[in-house]
Amino acid sequence: MAVVFEKTRGLAEKPFHYCPGCTHGIIHRLVAESLDELNLIDDAIGVAPVGCAVFAYDYFNCDMQEAAHGRAPATATGIKRVHPKSAVFTYQGDGDLASIGAAEIVHAAMRGEKITTIFVNNAIYGMTGGQMAPTTLVGQKATTAPYGRDENHAGMPLRISEMLATIPKAVFVERVSVHDVKHIIQAKKAIKKAFQTQMEGKGFSLVEVVSTCPTNWGKTPIEALKWLQENMIPYYPLGNFRNTEEVK
């Protein structure tokens, strides 16, 4: 019998600490498989965020650096400039990237840093117990929005991919989801493409992965995937916003 599927060597042996059914685990696997399949894992350097993925440095089988909250793109900038041949990536949640780290991501993209950002948008601050994030949907409940997000009070959720796609040197920007097997396969293709874009030296690349937080959404993992599909995707449409083919 031949092996059809097994745990990639891009992941370390350590089991994830994530809650049951949390899609952070799927996204970790896709990143690790992509780096392994592109023969980049041995020299890759990742930057972990503050958020539920704070222990990402224990899970990837490559060098990892922890960054201060939201500052992963700045840390990755320094790493990539010193190690231009390594695949350098940041792995960041929506609280980390779209709130406290909003300036860092915009300016890393503007400078066209040759790094890849994996942006995990679960529309909430997961790690700290479910506060409202810039990405929380209108009407979505959070501990700091007990009646649901009110757009007149908290504004409208930030669409990071659309915003970054307006930046000339953000040469690959795609939004994907992991709510079923078909979308998981598509998500991996986008992650691979982003790393290829980086290694071709073309500029900044980002893949936004629409993700779940069953625990703070107060749903079972199965219900959370359904909620994602019915509520997140209409506001955060999937698709490619920038592609290297358009870039000279």
């Binding site: 031949a2 059809v4 998981i184 396969i185």
Partner: protein, 68 residues
Amino acid sequence: MAKVTFDENRCKGCELCTTVCPAKIVVMDKDRINIKGYHPATVKEMDKCTGCASCARMCPDVVIKVEK
């Protein structure tokens, strides 16, 4: 002939794998609990497995290995 194996003590009982199997053979084993205290996922009718690896791709905790 295809076969799936579960690294059972990594399983968190989330049930996501049970929703994607075209043969509907992935089930939670309600008779047992693993080291984490969850009912682990399992396959009882292995002869119906096509080796499609959908269960393994859906699993957030890299529990499942697929051979064909």
